[in-house]
């Protein structure tokens, strides 16, 4: 059989941006306490104008702490921190540029919410481990009317060797400062919130992103000219609020995180620069006229953008892009292609590249809690090891084996045997002393309880008995039953003269639905007292037509009379001293049966009549001998009598069917005549009846006659069915006794040669099902393969059935088992199976 699929499953549930490699720390600074940084708060440059060109790292936090580091390989030493200074106001951004008038030295511009300050940094050898000490010197400061957001610098207007500052405020004012002079302010168009600001030196223009998710470009020249005529005289306000002339605009359609100017596109001319815009989900590269050039969709949340130059050919310098992400990785793009991915320990808010010591291209990474590291791109795989406890100790196979064995034996113990009853099972018991029997009626008190926790509602208790016993109330409904309380239900049975009894079993069935909507049923079988079915006959009946002799293995005389003493309880005078019991069934006809002790001789008026008494005898004898009693039967099987009964039943059925056909015909005729008569009577000028009325009457009479005979035949059929059922049971008993069948074979025999005779459906009766059953039994005994049972058809004659029963008996007499001996294991392997077919 097919051992199903391997369930191999998809590897991850969410989008992951993962990397094979980790960036390795080259140097790292201690993480400051409770400080917050944003993307502008990192600046890497030679801010102290060190002649050796050593690069310093400058950070500034919202808490107003300005720090300058000189990273050196290895662990952090106190000498690496050149300066730590509290400037007293939150630091929004730090930049290095040529901000000092009449000097080309680098200076540090620090942006605070309400002012921008320019410092010069000077360093001198310090006492500590051959390090340096930096000093800040404030050169000039501009107060800002609006709270600032960010700034950019550059040679605005094409000045040579100078950097001017442009500060963007949170409410959209651009303030320009030419060193220590304030130049002018301009209001940006349709402003809501500030975006990144970038200065393009080549075109002398500014690029920013507005809240409408558009990239806008303004020329410095136009900015300076707009409103300049009146700006000097009037108060700042109306004049400078004039609409600024837009150079170009690009509708980006998503929020912009960062903008940088780089030469990304490899097929651009040497003088051309690209504008790289980092959005929330896309990176686009624009030409300097605002047209889109390249586009990449990101599958992670980017956090920062940086471009670094690489010299690809001797005269060409291009830029690669580093994009940091919130999934703690950064990717390096060459145009739109990922060339490297690396994991970091933090979410970078700013990344720069610099040369420290002799190493080119180290990455300076700052996160928003101030963790500052200098990394190189390591090639160590980042293995996340899942710790499993068993790893620590060497695996002990013996111990595990023992443990497994123990577990398995426990499981086997727990699950052994038949499936257990559910806890809330219904329990029924017949109170033994409560039932008292009279001549024609029986009272049985049934105790019903359940073992569950909840109250059960609407319990149906039904009873099933065979004739001649009838229950006064076949079904009793108990509205509710509390747990651990036994309900007592009284059933009254009465006997009525009817056909031959086939069993003295009384079956109670209780069903209910518990609170979890699960059905619960249970059954309880008892045997009705034998004396309800029979009356003792005073002079024992003798020389009855049907006779047979049973024997027991242990040749022992049994006191039959004593065994059946209860039969005489109500009729003492019929009691005899002889070892005999002789009874008359409470049937509509006179049916007698008698049993004589010794080798047990039984006789009866007919074969079916012998069944109940035989069963009762067997039961009583077995009880008396405490179970270890075996009957034997050496005589011939009374098959001839049996076949007669079958024939009678079959003939009865055939007649029944014929009569029903007749009935149908008569009814048809009757209806036809009725119809004609109706037609005649409906007509106003009725035609003569032409003796139709006579015909109708005659048909009616014959219809009634046929119906009566159908009814009669049906009663006969039921009667013959009963006697057939009883006879079949007896035959089963005799076969079982004669051939000493084991339990499995008995089961097979009882299902094939069934004693259940159902004559409610005429078209499919006992004979056919037995023929089909035996047919299949014989074939399966012979063949290894399953056989197709042909469609059942009403038998014309019973000879086939008789032949088959004979055949079975014949086989049994030869010692063939009814159970397939080589019971083929149901195969597990489809191929094996199919190859045989």
């Amino acid at each position: 059989m097919n051992a199903a699929v391997w369930r191999f499953f998809s590897s991850s549930q969410q989008r992951l941006s993962m990397s094979l490699f980790r960036s390795r720390p080259w140097w790292s600074a201690p993480i400051p306490v409770d400080e917050e940084y944003q993307s502008g708060c990192l600046c890497v440059d030679n801010v102290d104008n060190d002649p050796s060109g050593k690069v310093k790292v400058v950070t500034g936090s919202f808490q107003g702490i300005l720090r300058i580091y000189l990273p050196r390989r290895g662990a952090f030493q106190s000498g690496d921190l050149l300066l730590e200074h509290d400037v007293g106001a939150p630091i929004m951004q730090v930049s290095a540029g040529r901000f000092i008038p009449s000097s080309t030295q680098l200076a540090l511009a620090v942006l605070h919410p309400r002012k921008v300050t320019v410092y010069t940094v000077t360093s001198q050898p310090g006492a500590l481990d051959s390090g340096l000490i930096c000093k800040l010197e404030k050169k000039y400061e501009h107060a800002l009317a609006h709270s600032s957001w960010n700034m950019t610098h550059g040679p605005f207007g094409g000045v040579y060797d100078k950097d001017f500052l442009c500060v963007q405020s949170f409410d959209g004012v651009l303030s320009f400062f030419e060193h220590d002079h304030f130049a002018f302010t301009r209001y940006l168009n349709n402003f809501l919130l500030p975006g990144p600001l970038c200065y393009i030196a080549r075109t002398d223009s500014f690029v920013t992103a507005n809240a409408s998710m558009e990239i806008e470009c303004y020329r410095y020249h136009n900015l300076a000219l707009t409103g300049s005529d009146r700006a000097l005289n009037e108060k700042e306000g109306d004049a400078s609020r004039r609409k600024l002339p837009l150079e170009w605009k690009y509708n980006f359609g998503e929020q912009v995180l960062d903008i940088c100017i780089a030469r990304v596109s490899r097929n651009s001319a040497a003088s051309q620069f690209d504008i790289v815009v980092l959005g929330e989900h896309n990176v686009v590269t624009l030409k300097d006229n605002g047209q889109i050039k390249l586009q990449t969709k990101l599958d992670f949340h980017p956090s920062c953008l940086f471009s670094y130059p690489i010299q690809e050919t001797t005269d060409q310098i291009f830029h690669n892009l580093i994009i940091g992400s919130h999934s703690k990785t950064f990717k390096i793009y060459k145009e739109t292609k990922v060339v490297w991915t690396s994991q970091t320990d933090t979410v970078p808010v700013a990344i720069r590249t610099a040369k420290f010591g002799n190493l080119q291209g180290l990455l300076v990474v700052l996160d928003d809690r101030g963790s500052l590291t200098v990394n190189y791109l390591g090639t160590d795989p980042s293995l996340q090891v899942v710790k499993v406890e068993a790893d620590s100790a060497p695996f002990n196979y013996e111990e595990t084996d023992n443990q497994l064995r123990l577990l398995q034996s426990q499981i086997a113990e727990a699950t052994e045997g038949a499936p257990k009853d559910p806890p809330d099972v219904l329990v029924m018991r017949v109170a033994p002393d409560q039932g008292h029997a009279e001549a024609t009626s029986l009272n049985v008190v049934l105790e019903l309880a359940h073992k569950g926790q909840d109250t059960l509602n609407n319990i149906h208790v039904s009873v099933h008995v065979e004739e001649p016993l009838f229950a006064a109330e076949p079904t009793i409904i108990i509205p509710s039953l509390a747990p651990k309380v036994a309900a007592k239900i009284e059933f009254i049975f009465t006997t009525q003269n009817s056909s031959l009894p086939i069993s003295n079993q009384i079956r109670f069935i209780a069903c209910a639905v518990n609170s979890k909507n699960e059905p619960r049923t249970s059954t309880c079988d008892i045997l009705a007292p034998f004396h309800l079915y029979v009356n003792p006959v005073a002079p024992p009946a003798s020389s009855l037509p049907f006779q047979f002799t049973l024997d027991t293995i242990e040749a022992k005389t049994h006191q039959i009379g004593q065994l059946f003493s209860d039969v005489y309880l109500l009729n003492r005078e019929a009691e005899t001293q002889a070892n005999i019991v002789s009874v008359k069934y409470q049937a509509s006809e006179d049916v007698y049966a008698a049993v004589t002790g010794g080798p047990i001789d039984e006789e009866a008026t007919e074969m079916g009549a012998a069944w109940l008494i035989t069963m009762e005898l067997a039961r009583r004898l077995t009880d008396a001998e405490r179970g270890d009693l075996q009957f034997s039967y050496s005589g011939e099987l009374p098959l001839q009598e049996y076949f007669e009964i079958i024939d009678t039943h079959h003939a009865c059925r055939v007649r029944c069917i014929e009569l029903e056909k007749d009935l149908e015909k008569e009814a048809e005729q009757f209806r036809a005549i009725q119809k004609r008569l109706l037609v005649r009577f409906k007509d106003k000028n009725a035609a003569p009846l032409q003796n139709l009325d006579v015909l109708l009457r005659n048909t009616y009479e014959s219809l009634v006659k046929v119906a009566e005979s159908v009814e009669k035949t049906k009663t006969e059929l039921v009667k013959s069915g009963k006697s057939l059922s009883a006879a079949t049971s007896l035959i089963q008993f005799l076969i079982r006794t004669k051939y000493r069948l084991d339990q499995a074979s008995v089961e097979v025999l009882e299902t094939t040669l069934t004693s259940t005779v159902n004559d409610d459906v005429l078209s499919q009766g006992w004979e056919e099902s037995v023929v089909a059953g035996i047919d299949s039994l014989i074939r399966t005994l012979n063949a290894q393969e399953a056989v197709l049972v042909p469609q059942m058809k009403m038998l014309d004659v019973t000879s086939k059935l008789q032949k088959q029963i004979l055949l079975v008996c014949d086989k049994l007499s030869k010692g063939t088992s009814l159970v397939r001996t080589a019971k083929r294991k149901t195969t597990k392997n489809a191929k094996k199976k199919n190859s045989k077919v």
């Binding site: 993962m18 919130l193 399953a786």
Partner: protein
């Protein structure tokens, strides 16, 4: 420092909780501060962000109420509803049945990477779109269709909104959109844009559509952004044809990768994978190095059961981005199912090196090790998988352990493994099937049958339980029942060889039986004459 500045800075650094908190405080003081409102709106939207270019899981209600179907019987290879009908799905491999690629509940082959729309497992969310009873009770109002898949947008959003007293941030029903349009000074384009994204994210596509149409008129139908937004709103409303129109128009104005991906998504929803593929290939010409597009092409091939082409595309994606988890995982699973566990193992090890560490990965590694005959590693891998696994994943790991036990022949152990798997996930059809087979080996035919029936009930997409039950019925002589089961089974897996064999032998049974009956009849007729 000014709180608004701080909030904006934190928004940029995706510290949404702090940002939203600050904004809420500021808005309580001055509810009309548009900048703060804008920041808060963006923060809320970003918290609830889901990549909307991904395919959503299609709920049963959407399938039932889908009136966009074009052809009910599409030609082979043109529909994703019948991926097995692909013309070249038969691959010339000598693989056995055990490595048959499992199918998801929608009958598509399971991909190597769990994305919405391919998942074989029901969603863990409270709203399970695969059950009709829950599918109809979607949480979204205001829409024309009972909502299923988009329910998760709402869920994410309201979860973050509920943390604040006073209900939703924007009272959507009270928005007067006309006012927004007629008084541009009050609400400029920027506010409208962020509002439209907000509305879409939080599941108010009708209102978003109104806003979009107003803005489109204002922009004189030239703004690609508004066209794309309109398309998205139409998509949410289930009006795919209109969505397609707007995206096409948007692409004319401005070619964007995401617009192309959206368009292909719409075509997939319309069950036109070929058109979706064309769109993506066209986009690939414009953006030759775009991983997203290559992956999208590969996914469509995968969904169409065209594994070879999908592999090619995944490999192409890997040359563009050698760290792409999805491509690696898909390639690995494809190698596994084409009986190259050693190759699969290498890919999975790569994933492991890249820092992916999940129960699924360890499980797959364990399976690969087992099939590549590196038995010493197998159990160690599974141990780690169990260590990491939770919920249904744990059930699957136990199931696979059961398979391993079957493989080493320890049937008792396998039996217990499957039982554990079922105790963790009582609807694991495969485990029922295997338990059925094991019960049969023990000789409990009734128990076996009931297990197989449970398997068939829980996994209507599986052919194995049907086949097994058919075989069982066949052996017990219930040929009619067997025949019916095997017919169902052949429908599910038309290429299953043993299935065909059984069907043939059953056919021959019926034929010979009829023939003998016929002959008997003829013979009787002859006798009469």
């Amino acid at each position: 420092m000014e709180p608004a500045t701080l909030a904006y800075s934190r928004l940029k650094r995706r510290r949404f909780d702090e940002c939203i908190q600050t904004c809420t405080e500021l808005l309580q003081k001055n509810p009309l501060d548009q900048a703060v409102w804008y920041i808060k709106c963006r923060a809320l939207t970003d918290v609830a962000f889901t990549d909307d270019t991904e395919m959503e899981e299609e709920g049963i209600a959407e399938i039932l109420l889908d009136d966009n179907a074009i052809a009910t019987a599409p030609r082979p290879g043109t529909s994703m509803q019948r991926p097995l009908s692909s013309a070249n799905s038969q691959r010339p491999t000598s693989r056995g049945q055990s490595a048959n690629r499992p199918l998801s509940s929608s009958g598509r082959p399971v991909s190597g990477y769990a994305r919405p729309g391919t998942s074989s497992r029901p969603l863990s969310s409270a709203v399970n779109p695969n059950r009709l009873s829950t599918a109809m009770g979607g949480g979204r109002l205001n829409t024309a269709r009972p909502v299923t898949s988009s329910g998760r947008f709402v869920r994410l959003g309201t979860a973050s909104l509920l943390q604040r007293p006073g209900g939703e941030f924007i009272e959507v029903d009270r928005l007067n959109l006309k006012r927004y349009a007629t008084r541009p000074a009050l609400a400029k384009a920027d506010v409208r844009e962020v509002l439209s994204i907000y509305l879409l994210t939080f599941g108010h596509p009708l209102r978003a559509l109104e806003l979009c149409s107003v803005s489109l008129v204002e922009s004189e139908h030239k703004d690609w952004f508004w066209k794309a937004q309109t398309g998205k709103a139409y998509y949410r409303l289930g009006l795919y044809r209109d969505a397609e129109r707007f995206f096409l128009s948007s692409l004319k104005d401005q070619e964007m990768v995401s617009s192309y991906v959206w368009l292909s998504k719409i075509y997939q929803r319309l069950d036109r994978p070929a058109t979706a593929m064309d769109i993506l290939l066209k986009a690939c010409e414009t953006f030759p190095n775009e991983v997203t597009l290559t992956l999208a092409v590969a996914r469509i091939h995968d969904a169409m059961n065209d594994a070879d082409k999908a592999m090619d595309n995944y490999k192409a994606a890997l040359t563009l981005d050698s760290y792409n988890v999805e491509a690696i995982a898909s390639l690995a699973s494809e190698y596994f199912y084409s009986e190259q566990p050693e190759m699969a193992l290498r890919y999975y090890r790569r994933l492991l090196q890249m820092g992916v560490s999940s129960a699924e990965l360890w499980n797959n590694l364990g399976l690969c090790c087992f099939h590549a005959q590196q038995y010493d590693m197998t159990l160690a891998c599974f141990e780690r998988a169990l260590h990491l696994a939770q919920g249904d994943a744990a059930a699957d790991v136990w199931y696979n352990l059961g398979q391993i036990s079957l493989g080493i022949g320890d049937l008792g152990l396998a039996y217990q493994h499957f039982q554990i798997a079922l105790s963790l996930n009582p609807s694991c059809a495969e485990a029922y099937n295997n338990l059925g087979v094991l019960e049969l080996r023990k000789g409990n035919a009734d128990q076996a049958r009931s297990n197989l029936q449970l398997a068939a009930q829980n996994g209507p997409y599986l052919s194995e339980p049907l086949f097994n039950e058919a075989l069982l019925s066949y052996q017990f002589g219930q040929l009619d029942e067997s025949y019916q089961l095997i017919r169902k089974c052949t429908q599910l897996s038309p290429n299953h060889f043993e299935c065909k064999e059984l069907l043939e032998s059953l056919d021959s049974h019926f034929v010979t039986h009829e023939a003998t009956q016929l002959m008997q009849l003829e013979f009787q007729e002859e006798l009469k004459y």
